[in-house]
Symmetry: C2
Subunit: 129 residues, 2 copies
DNA sequence: TGAACACATGAACGGCTCTTCATGTAGTTC
DNA sequence: GAACTACATGAAGAGCCGTTCATGTGTTCA
């Protein structure tokens, strides 16, 4: 209903994590945990692209790129459909685009060493202090 | 200066990625790419916590937890300061909390198989379709 | 000062991941 | 259908990662 965190349905990140499955979350996020795949996704954010062209754009061998594309596909992050003798790859979703975007955003800031606020705990019954 | 993406200073994700350093971005994101660290960060989002208590909360051995904490610390994602004979760990930043939050959010949606929109390219000269 | 607690660190091992090399399959063109 | 292009796949090797075991450092308290 609301936007971010309502008072009622506020599950802790920890609960949500176990609900979805920590291993699954980790697996998905690992798609963003290597330079090669990061480059692939970043290129795809600019628009769909054929496999060979993609490999060329990110500077990796066709085979290596294909392997990673399969991985990304199995994770449901990208799609690939035939078009003539090419296979056009694209980001699956806008969620993927945003995930990449925000990951980049946060890492850019973290890498600058800027400190926003010393990490405040959510508005829990935090009497203990 | 703006907030998210101004029309003028819009660099492609690919450019930003190389600017920050794809390897560095990957390294940081890899902190979210394993169940153990994911649990650690999720627990810390609820508030600061001593090392042993933390290890207990996420169900891992003290040593293993300590190793991962060092890693997270080196990446600048968490802080740890002595307090008596304990060391209290906390998320470094609100950026870290948000990164975790949004990663969770997107993965929750991706895991549901919900498809928002078939990934639209940014407002480029995307006539080809 | 010595014992007990809290945490950090080093070494080592098993497992996973990414790449490369070689080969296989699908589609087009002649 | 033969040759070529575009992509996928399998096997294998090098390197990295996370855990465990054993031990070390710092702190409190009697």
């Amino acid at each position: 209903m609301g936007h971010g965190a309502d008072a009622k349905t506020t599950a802790t990140a920890r609960e949500r994590l176990e609900t979805v499955g920590a291993a699954d979350v980790a697996a998905t996020l690992q798609a963003l945990a290597t330079p090669s795949r990061l480059r692939i996704l970043a290129r795809l954010q600019e628009g769909p692209c054929a496999a060979t062209e993609l490999a060329d754009a990110v500077g990796m061998e066709q085979s290596a790129c294909s392997h990673q594309l399969r991985l990304l596909r199995n994770l449901g992050l990208v799609t690939g459909e035939r078009r003539g003798r090419s296979v056009i790859y694209a980001l699956y979703d806008n969620h993927v685009a945003e995930l990449l975007e925000q990951a980049l955003y946060h890492v850019e800031h973290l890498r600058l060493g800027l400190r926003d606020a010393p990490a405040q705990a959510p508005a829990t019954a935090a009497g203990a202090r």
